[in-house]
Point group: C2
Chain length 521, copies 2
């Protein structure tokens, strides 16, 4: 087992800016991107509903939990809930108010999510905001190759992008599903790749007890820490999607049991599409989301008081003509913002997303994404999943969209940068120097600042029309394609201690030799 | 002169919903768009800076006005400012604090902007938000015709779109400059077209005393009211762009003198591009914007205490590599939001814009526009100019972008619609009816609401990938093109009293016979 002191030294824990400098060095060689940074909201998140309205959603969801309850499909989970005070009839569990309230008391309002490179540790909660990759898409696409089924090569390429782009704070899951890896061992190869190819914190799927346990072990080995240290330092997160409405299935429950027992991070995200798996009214869908999230919270705190928990919001609407899910809609924005109000009401960290339903990286993809981000940021989201690359309501991870989204994230981080309003910035002397009718291009105040005064975009083309025509009329998605190729070319595997790399490889080899996780297909 | 009572009856003033029903009837025949509505912010606008920071911008701009002052190029304007307490040395005017403070006391915090159809009257101020067309582009474009110099046919086609789309509240100016109309009579034909082809409130340019006087007269005749009534009911607005830094030119000052004397609406919008016409720091650019806007405010209130005034914000940055203006950037968003804080500090209505610098209706056009709108909405903008159709930093009015922006505006208006959170909406009974593991498609709660539950987009394509491919992989700008053609086809001139139409035509004919406005080229 690795010595934690050695581990600290290995990872340069004494120099918190190491990741930052690495990022800047990479930028000097390749894509001119924003430096690595930590963002937080410099303003209060938006209260779209009144406190009374938030209370009525809260009270109605407590009533749902008390009177209707949840289907809890794992007997062990039911037993533990019952022991904690829930009522159990067959698979149905109802939750008294006190059980929910006591869980709300013990869940932490913020915590640190640890990466193998401590410079990439994330604070989850408060006003901090972090952005992750796309996750769980069954397909991927780029301009040259078109739309194709997920595979290991594309999976690894997305990990490279996640490592190269400074604005990506964490790996949300498999950016695209590597379908060509057998399900028995897919999680081993995929998590191994995440742990080695990137040094940012990552996610493991709650697909039964063995897979999530393997994920925890890989996260622990990658950080070079002991099981005891792991329990002090959350180093892995897992999304729990309820089977909305009001159902928690066996593999997800096993995920909570394993993860919370070891003080790892659980984010419960009900998939409450209004009109399909939830009431057609947004208020009703939010009641259901809230009830399911609180049920998940109770489960984590029953397993281990104080276990890190994130309130996940994913409420959107469906197209009532076709039943197709819609994203980045006005309803989505409202739900994202109100979800944040509920999370703040409870003092819980909040997870939201950057979504769109577009089939092409066109204007629709961009406006749905910025509307999503508007909801995420003004809602006070702490963790923005699917931050970069999500298309087609999650069916596709797009390489071009990934880069486009990195530009959007960088813009938001620049927007969130507090503005300097000191005497120098107020610029009275510069205004006096230039005077009426002049211009500021040559002013001393300008010359001292022009190179870093403004956000420099990755993609936006600000050439005039004539220059742009002469350049072949490139559109945003074409520039994004070129940048994604460039990012792949500049990727370098982040340094990893040789002993840790060997231990990781050995663990994966052993688990494969054992047959991985039995599958029934 | 028309009798106001008759005028009321003619315009159906007793039925405030007339415009609404007309819009719905049009929708039934053509494009399925949102009904005509009035939007307002259901939440507080965002405070990005602290009150102290806002005060330091305020105080520094007062210092600019006191110590540096403005070049005021019209002698009559200088005389009136001097009589009111300003100091004048040659063309330079400096403003004592008391003069600014007294102007702030008399300017109204809100007022009604009257249209010839009273159903289209706008409240300007408070939490109300209204969206206008693109204005002042020298070129226009569409997919078939490409980019071309502005002309009367395209100008009139934009007016048709402005009338057809319910979300367009006012005409911001000439959507595209009808270059083929001689400058001596261009304003007459263009304003005549606005007054007849639409029944929404509109703008006249402050290009000298005669043109703005003609504009006021056309607005008055179109409403069928007397000069005295016109002074009670602001019926025209004019944008005053300062020659930043710190200069007010002759035609603009003549505009203020004429408009404010007759109690018409002046919106002073400094064109303060940080790094070019304003300090490279955003705080400095905002100091300059604020000083220039306050100088314009003083001018209006010196002419007539209580004259309606709108604080205009347009601060953005330039690309420091090329000097090209940038829009929809992080800096632009911050400036839009802080501009709103300043306007609220003064209790003045606030004008902002929907901008972008893109050369094509691609992802860039969409993300820059939504970022702009994010700034406009969260900044509490009351009047959003260039709401639909603006491209290339204002050099092009795009027909496809117009429709795309209408979709964005409709989405924002749907987002601003207060959410229902009553017992019915909370949906406890629906959740009980469906129960765990079911779905809501067939629930009574859903069936009663599904047809109007969610925003129906104009453009967004939510078909799945296979259906979308089968349809020829249409992109957002192609759908927008088809909708703009459809909107032109469904345009009908709004009803106008025959006597008024004749009076308007006679006025324009007479002014043309007089030679319009002499030009020196």
């Amino acid at each position: 087992m690795a010595d934690p002191t050695t581990s600290d030294a290995r990872h340069g824990r004494s120099d918190r800016r190491r990741g930052g400098r690495t990022g800047q060095a990479a930028a000097a060689r390749g894509i001119a991107q924003s430096p690595r940074r930590r963002s937080s909201l410099p303003f209060l998140a938006l209260d779209l509903l009144s406190a009374d309205q938030i209370e009525s959603i809260h009270e109605t969801s407590l009533q749902v939990l008390r009177e209707i309850g949840m289907e809890v499909m794992l007997p062990e989970a039911r037993d533990r809930l019952k022991a904690a005070g829930a009522e159990v009839r067959e698979s149905r569990v109802t939750f008294p108010r006190e059980l929910v309230e006591s869980a709300l008391e013990t869940a932490p309002s913020s915590f640190v999510f640890h990466a193998r490179n401590p410079a990439n540790d994330l604070t989850i909660g408060g006003s901090a905001i972090s952005f992750g990759t796309v996750a769980s898409a069954p397909n991927c696409s780029d301009l040259e190759g078109g739309r194709r089924t997920g595979n290991e090569v594309d999976f690894r390429n997305f990990l490279k992008l996640a490592q190269v782009f400074n604005c990506i704070d964490f790996i949300s899951g498999y950016p695209v599903e590597p379908i060509d890896l057998h399900p028995a061992i897919r999680h081993l190869d995929a998590l191994h790749a995440m742990a080695v190819m990137t040094d940012k914190p990552f996610h493991a799927y709650s697909l039964g007890r063995e897979r999530i346990s393997d994920g925890i072990e890989i996260a622990r080995i990658a950080r070079g820490i002991s099981p005891v240290e792991l329990e002090r330092e959350p180093s892995l997160f897992s999304i729990i999607n309820t089977n909305s409405p009001l159902k928690l299935d066996v593999p997800m429950l096993q995920g909570i049991l394993e993860m919370s027992a070891r003080n790892q991070i659980i984010c419960v995200t009900p998939f409450t599409l209004a009109g399909a798996m939830a009431p057609v009214t947004l208020a009703g869908a939010l009641v259901e989301q809230n009830a399911e999230a609180l049920a998940g919270l109770v489960m984590t705190q029953v397993v281990r008081k104080g276990a890190p928990f994130i309130y996940g919001g994913f409420t959107s609407n469906v197209d009532m003509k076709s039943g197709a899910p819609a994203f980045g809609t006005p309803e989505y924005m409202k739900a994202a913002i109100i979800g944040g109000q509920l999370a703040r009401r409870y003092g819980l960290p909040y997870r939201t997303s950057n979504t769109c339903a577009a089939n092409a990286v066109d204007a629709q993809a961009a406006y749905e994404s910025v509307f999503s981000l508007w909801g995420a940021v003004m809602g006070g989201g702490n963790l923005v999943l699917h931050g970069a690359g999500w298309m087609e309501g999650g069916l596709v991870a797009s390489f071009e969209k990934f880069v486009l989204d990195c530009d959007l994230i960088q813009m938001i981080e620049a927007f969130l940068d507090p503005l300097e309003v000191d005497n120098e910035a107020l610029g009275l002397d510069a205004i006096r120097e230039v005077g009426p009718g002049g211009h500021f291009f040559g002013a001393a105040h300008t010359l001292a600042r022009y190179s870093h005064a403004f956000y420099a975009p990755l993609i936006s083309d600000w050439r005039n029309f004539q220059q742009w025509v002469a350049a072949g009329q490139p559109q945003a998605h074409q520039k994004a394609n070129q940048l994604y190729r460039q990012a792949l070319a500049q990727y370098e595997q982040p340094p990893i201690d040789e002993a840790i790399a060997e231990e990781l490889a050995a663990f994966v080899r052993k688990r494969k030799e054992e047959g991985g996780v039995p599958t029934d297909f």
